[in-house]
Symmetry: C2
Subunit: 340 residues, 2 copies
DNA sequence: CTGTTAGCGCCTTCAT
DNA sequence: ATGAAGGCGCTAACAG
């Protein structure tokens, strides 16, 4: 049977309250008593029972990462980092998949809130745009931090990427290589990143006097299949595009697969690029040219921010936008027939 | 402020114990009382405070998935499935990355156990072979289920894949295509799956009268870089192997990358195959021939098994071995120069 | 069948 | 600077 606060108190010859003070780094304990208590704690290997602490303080010491399964695949590095944060800050982190409009997901969310399991949420896109989840979280006044929210609400803390500038860099790079007909795959409509990236693309075309050809822009899911399908469609246009810019790496993988399946060489016959810089993108052949969005850091920052807010730190910056940068690899090159 | 069991009792005109009985589906409540209580519960939207329940019962209602970060990347489907199980069974699931021999990991594990946060562990390879974790878990008699353990200990429940048979299928397939010089990348020594797969490879060579050439077998990490490096080494042998069998998909990606970087065509100049059937393996070009190990199902079964054991179900089968099957895609073909 | 009582282990409040 | 008493919301054990 594990030691309790009473065991420590007895051994150290003090009251349980004093032990509690030492455990929680509260003031008003003489150095001498503190030392005595500390050694008693070590002697019997005491650790506070977390459930009791939670009950007494009416806090869950648990935050929830509400995750849209189709979109976020938390790599193990990210998991490691956020679990580390949780450990440091003494919060458990619950990773909860949530499918918009699924009854089961709704029930789970309701339970999490009703049973007071959760002190706060980190909300990943596009769940910030889910009516039910949004209503629940705001009705019950559960603190939240949103990642890349569709609508930036000044009152809701968020961490976002800079999709517009990132997309601008990518499009400029393609134009500089000599591409004029650049197919673009946009993503879900209710995701801020999707819109930002498309606007960046359009802005650079305009800037360079390239006509915006709507037939070269397709909307699809940010998935392998989405990219695959769109590539096959785009290749039927004439003249063909010389480059395809998928606004997400997974979709770009689909594009590359389809292109090679059609017997085209990447980047010889067609350049392909993505956005996000998933860890895999450097490991496929040819390496994928893409824009690095610091997704891991975004989630990490969001988690830290949420915990700090829960701890009452009010000096935090609550509207965080992180920069992106271009990553050039082997999947892009000059348009075919342009020399070299 | 959320409703408590007392509020329900008052509204229904019964004692709190009766409400407790209804909540926990205990017997000895008249249908009529039960109905009255049930409607009171719905009326005020009562949900039991989980921390109080945990404290009163001295149970954490939380299990831990102890995960080796380099090896397991839980896809979002897997996360969804295990979180679903947790939801159904009313257990929280903590995903805890653990690096063998890291002081920080050790401390985290100790805390999890000391603070009684955890009712049981699902242990992923190769952590079953980690001395510290093993000692902690067994010393404190925390229930566990191991996945693909290195040593199958009859007393510790486990869920495993059938690496020997899977590897046998793959090697037979390569031999049947006409390959005789088959490079093999084996993985970490303290992983059961790694050994099983290598033994399967050797057994089939023997069976077919193919000499076992040690210089064609390399040991590396099951990573992209491991595969990349080994491919470059193997290509210096003469005569060259006509196929490379990486005993893990990630390593196979590295092999494919290196081969293409050296200007070789896959499978025209060299066949490449892997093992595991990660979700990505169908999405790279060419699609990766591999053996499907039902990793998601393994983790799911292990989680279910652990929870059932915690709930006292003793009729469970505690030594589970799941079959594998061959998946042929585009990365393998006949050896070069073998005609049709 | 139902209710009463006594904790679970900690924290909070208020004395001292 | 320290301690005593009461309570968090629930369940277990026992009494009716």
């Amino acid at each position: 049977l594990p030691a309790t606060i009473r065991d420590v108190a007895k051994l150290a010859g003090v009251s349980i309250k004093t032990v509690s003070r030492v455990m929680n780094d509260e003031p008003y304990v003489t150095e001498e008593t503190r030392a005595r208590v500390t050694s008693a704690i070590r002697a019997i290997g005491y650790a506070p029972n977390i459930s009791a602490k939670r009950l007494a303080q009416n806090k869950a010491y648990m935050i929830c990462l509400l995750m849209y399964p189709g979109f976020y695949q938390p790599g193990s590095e990210m998991l490691t980092r956020i679990m580390d944060i949780g450990y440091e800050e003494n919060y458990d982190i619950l990773i909860q998949p949530y499918f918009p409009a699924h009854a089961r997901s709704k029930r789970k969310l309701v339970n999490l809130i009703y049973e007071q399991r959760i002190d706060g949420f980190v909300v990943t896109p596009p769940l910030d745009d889910d009516e039910f989840a949004g209503d629940m979280i705001s009705t019950y006044k559960v603190p939240q931090v949103q990642i890349n929210p569709y609508k930036r609400n000044e009152t809701i803390p968020f961490v976002a990427g800079d999709g517009f500038n990132g997309s601008t860099m990518m499009t400029k790079y393609l134009v500089k290589l000599g591409h004029r007909r650049i197919g673009f795959l946009s993503g879900p409509r209710n995701m801020r990143a999707s819109n930002d990236r498309q606007i960046g693309y359009q802005a650079v075309l305009l800037e360079n006097g390239i006509e915006y050809d709507e037939s070269l822009v397709c909307s699809s899911e940010w998935t392998f299949d989405g990219g695959y399908t769109m590539c096959r469609l785009l290749m039927e246009k004439s003249p063909r595009p010389t480059a395809i810019y998928a606004s997400n790496d997974e979709a770009a993988y689909g594009v590359i697969f389809a292109a090679q399946e059609m017997g085209m060489s990447v980047p010889g016959d067609i350049s392909v690029c993505g956005y996000d810089d998933l860890s895999l993108s450097k490991n496929i052949w040819p390496g994928l040219t893409t824009v690095h969005q610091p997704s891991d850091e975004m989630i990490e920052r969001a988690t830290r921010l949420l915990i700090n807010l829960l701890k009452g730190k009010t000096t935090e910056e609550t509207n965080i936008i992180l920069p992106s940068y271009l990553v050039v690899r082997g999947s892009t090159g000059k348009p075919p027939g342009s020399g070299y």
